[in-house]
Amino acid sequence: MLLASLLIASFVIFAAVYLAPGNPISALSGGRALPASSIRILEQRYHLNEPFLAQYWYWLGNALHGNLGISITLRENVSALISQRIWTTAGLVLYASVLILVFGIGMGIVAGLRPGFLDTSTLVVTAISAAIPAFVAAIVLILLFSVKLGWFPALGNGTSFLSNVQHFTLPAVALAFSALAIVARVTRASIRAESEREHVQTAVSRGIPGRQLIRRHILRNAAIPITTITGITIASLIAVAAVVETAFSLNGLGAYLVQAAESKDLAVVQGISLVLVTAFVVVNLLVDVLYALLDPRVSLGSRAQ
């Protein structure tokens, strides 16, 4: 099912050239005037004189081989441009994911297992942070930690691995902010729900000690909904990364996508969209696999929402 999604998505991305007002040539050139020789090259490269589906086939074939066309503005291979920037985005998303896993799930577990002050305060804090979008979090973080406290740099990628981490910390926090809150809430709710299930009572009546009870009967069961939601949330980070990269002037795929969209560099937009959608689908696929592994009642591909 997900592969079908990917296929259809790639078709939509491809068809973008035709959806644009005007003819494909003007779309590909972004409305710029081109000499006749360039037009002929474009026609040839994109097989513009052949039937629609054949063009799609060529495009897809090229894409799978790593050939995503040429950027109109920079006159370089799109794939080369992408591979220069992909690690920035990947690193950012990875960093944010780690934060979500450690702090989001961690807070959720603590709040779920201990009702009381810690729990209520977690609820309130997460209710507010879940509503703070990444770009608002970005400016607040820049204000607090960059300008006022000077702990972290505000812009740019950084040069070495260590300075990368330094430069990526604020962006990663901004990216993870609201997702973390959502994951914490869901984790807490799942743990609460599991603690009250009858099979936990059975385990208590069989004299299973507390620690083991929590680990093998509450956490293990709650892992199912927690993993699903966390996975979906992390997948959504892929799209929001564009916003954070722009806010922090990071040289990533998302920021480049936005620039390309503004300058109507369609080949680049198509290429990056394809990469991002593929990544999104892959993450969703992983979540499906994990879900099937964790819950013996379901078979692969039947993830209930």
Partner: protein, 291 residues
């Protein structure tokens, strides 16, 4: 918190009355409703209520702090921030409204059709929706603006398409449950057409849930559209808009003038929280009424 009102709002074949349940949403719900009301007033009458001209730049006053009648100071082009916030409410709220209306209309339609027909039609619609899930909203919006040009329209339509599968899935579940209620069978036996039953009975009974879902969705749409405007692909400057104000005044933060960008951020967050809280309360109410 009285569930009595909520029950009256959703029982039987009577039309639901969402507002009568508002009082039952508690303090948090009422406060949220008040915030939303304020934002709506600003959206409708913003430019009229603004104390100063929100559009006229005056570079000699750029970044000046709160002084005189200017509660929040001046932005990067010397315009009064408070007036600009008021004027920006309109474009900040109308986009999400359009997204919610479009996605819920399309989603509800598909959901009811899928739930009514069941069988093959349902399978096709559900599979189609599943496929659409592959596109995250922001990505689709960026793609749309690359094709059709930057602006609120392209972004709003793209987001509606991206949200629609989620709405349809949630509402399909509800519609299926309504469909299998005994009163529907009774109406069918009486000879009412499918369309009549759906429009006059099933949909009104789903209304509390639809309203709750729409409220929550408004918050998400607002965040996504503000993000797109922040990126420069949505509302275009110099038109006032909260998302755009954050990006245009971002340099101010680095230079020590955080107020313009921050106040726009606060507006967005406050309204989104209000919609989230109200939406969640309405949701709980709608669920309780179903028991």
């Amino acid at each position: 918190m009285s569930t009595g009102m909520a029950v009256t709002a959703a029982v039987g074949t009577r039309r639901a009355r969402p507002l009568s349940g508002l009082r039952a949403t508690g303090v948090a719900g009422m406060v949220s409703a008040a915030v939303i009301a304020l934002a709506t007033i600003a959206a409708l009458f913003g430019p009229l209520l603004a104390p100063y001209n929100p559009d006229l730049p005056n570079l000699s006053l750029a970044w000046v702090g709160p002084v005189g009648g200017h509660l929040l100071g001046y932005d990067f082009q010397g315009r009064d921030v408070f007036s600009r916030l008021l004027a920006g409410a309109q474009s900040s709220m109308i986009g999400p409204l359009a997204v919610v209306v479009l996605s819920m209309a399309a989603g509800a339609l598909l959901a009811v059709v899928a739930a009514w027909r069941r069988g093959a039609a349902d399978a096709v619609i559900s599979s189609g929706l599943d496929i659409l899930f592959a596109f995250p909203g922001i990505l689709l919006a960026v793609l749309a603006t690359a094709i059709f040009g930057a602006g609120l329209t392209a972004a709003a339509i793209a987001l509606s398409i991206a949200y629609m599968p989620y709405v349809a899935r949630v509402l399909r579940g509800v519609a299926l449950r309504e469909r299998s209620q005994p009163y529907v069978a009774a109406l069918e036996v009486q000879g009412l057409s499918a369309t009549t039953i759906c429009v006059r009975h099933i949909i009104p009974n789903m209304l509390p849930l639809i309203v709750a879902q729409a409220t929550i969705m408004f918050g998400w749409a607002m965040v996504d559209l503000a993000a797109i405007s922040f990126l420069g692909l949505g509302v275009q400057p110099p038109e006032p808009n909260w998302g755009v104000m954050i990006s245009e005044n971002q340099t101010g933060i680095l230079q020590g003038y955080p107020l313009p960008a921050l106040s726009a951020g606060v507006c967005i967050v406050a309204v989104v929280i209000a919609f989230n809280v109200l939406g969640e309360r309405l949701f709980e109410q709608a669920q309780a009424a179903r028991q």
